[in-house]
Symmetry: C2
Subunit: 367 residues, 2 copies
Amino acid sequence: MENLLVTYQIRADADEIEARALGVAVEQSIEMPLQAVRDPAILDEIVGKVESVQEEASNLFRVAIRFSVTITGLEITQLLNVLFGNTSMQPDISLVDADLPPSLLAAFPGPRFGLPGLRALTGAYDRPLTCTALKPMGSSPDELAALCRTFARGGIDIIKDDHGLANQAFAPFAERVRACQAAVDQVYAETGHRAIYAPNLSGGPSALWKQTDIVRELGVGMVMASPMLIGLPTYDELVRERIDVPILGHPALGGCPSIAPELLFGKLYRLIGSDAVIYPNYGGRFGYSKQMCTDLAANLRDPWGDLAPAAPVPAGGMTVDRVDEMVDFYGVDTILLIGGGLLIARERLQEQSAIFVERVKRSAELR
Amino acid sequence: MENLLVTYQIRADADEIEARALGVAVEQSIEMPLQAVRDPAILDEIVGKVESVQEEASNLFRVAIRFSVTITGLEITQLLNVLFGNTSMQPDISLVDADLPPSLLAAFPGPRFGLPGLRALTGAYDRPLTCTALKPMGSSPDELAALCRTFARGGIDIIKDDHGLANQAFAPFAERVRACQAAVDQVYAETGHRAIYAPNLSGGPSALWKQTDIVRELGVGMVMASPMLIGLPTYDELVRERIDVPILGHPALGGCPSIAPELLFGKLYRLIGSDAVIYPNYGGRFGYSKQMCTDLAANLRDPWGDLAPAAPVPAGGMTVDRVDEMVDFYGVDTILLIGGGLLIARERLQEQSAIFVERVKRSAELR
């Protein structure tokens, strides 16, 4: 039987750490006193096993625990539960990493387009893709479509909804998506530049499935959703069953202080099929370090079973002035997302968008 | 226009706190620089407004922010996003509380049975209800059904699946639920005691809906699910559209993000229709304080718009010895859940279950 190897960081006194580690192994598997278990096969095969305990710093330990892959049921809901269900409520324990065995990995689609698919769709092969966001909420569908048109004329590759655009009265999903898709279609007819519009999907399953019907009907080229808001299992089903275009994962509600972003956004969001994943860049307003961003991007792009690479989309307070630095840091296999940093140009928005696009092309050429 | 009043706790230097508070107000509404906004109505009506800033301790502030209810779209996905979407990724900010205005509250079903409904179903009016769990995972449907029979014979009111029982190979949902429901039906026929069996629902929407079909077909009396695992919007739809029995909310994965348990488990889980909510009790292995448990239980039970009261289910390392203390602390309007603390009796499990039931009755009578 294959195993799942899960790494936790535990803050504890040195004389308690063995008991704490065993406590997590039990909590995340059978969650009952070992002496209450009557079947020796369960003690042997089902209860998690502490594989290693390493002291990282004073009273801070890295603990690796091995779980039988059987207990995950080979699907995302129970995988999440095994990784961190009850232990998420322990204030002194964080979930650091997980190594998934081949049988578990093979049960997931991973990105169906991934970075190669996004390159094929945009025709941009040798440079980072450019991305921006339609804001602010409170705008009408016509206003958002006008913005979309301006960005498309500026040459942006991907124009996504702000993640706060859901199905509110000021810009209902159907009207907004129709108007914005018409805008990118119009610019394509006029200029030959095909920008991809990615609306934000939001709601319970019925609402989401209705939104995907609209996406299909209008020929929308991409979608966005937030796995932690809609639930990872619902996102997983959305990808498997409901869309045939790339999906961009948004990190909203994903700032769980005790799950490493490298794991949540880098591995789990890729596992459930995100073709590109937005996350807070270092040096922005979220305090992510360069090392976290390097590791997160590696988790998204590095070879992993048969899964296609997903595109990192570092974001959060990015500006055109940082393009060279970003290309230098992430290389060309990335998507650069500038939202508010473009909108601040106001009347000069199309020009500023074009400058962003040119800066990215030039940065890539200079490498 | 009605407002949503949201309270955050922010760790910051005193000379930064005004800017940080404004930052959250903007992040959680329009998420773009204010100077980039062209429409004054959006600045006026859509951008969050800092209502108050109070210093709680050195460099620790309680900040109340007012958001227009319009931006929530009156549904749970976007409500969560407004409450904490991007700000969840700020390591020094936690979400403490939210006051929902009547129009928002009226958009949710809340508990359809609640504590009064659970009392009517069990016929237990003057005492806490008793609850236990079927464990460990790795057991076969027959083994779980045997356990279920023993608990039912002991007189337990509600017998729930362990939250780790999903649809794994060792106990597939359909077989397990059929066997366990047959067990409680059999004990009812034999003894006249109708224990309620509550299977754990788990998976993406399609899997969940299939499970609810089985629940309906077999006449199962209650279900359990973990909102943070399946996604709050999916849980909301499950309650509204798919079940006509009470639902027990499990806290798995709820320890993250940094949302006060009083709000997440006490208010939000009730809002989306939980009739009873499991959470870690004080004095167990999760470090919740008495004050947190008092406030959480109050949020579940106190009058709140037109919402029925939900039953608190304090759990986690509970034992029969603590029954008097628990009844003293929570009163009779509660559900006492003992899992491993009963199973440890092994061959004496039925007797120990009966002792638990008697202890609860006596404790309630003595009040």
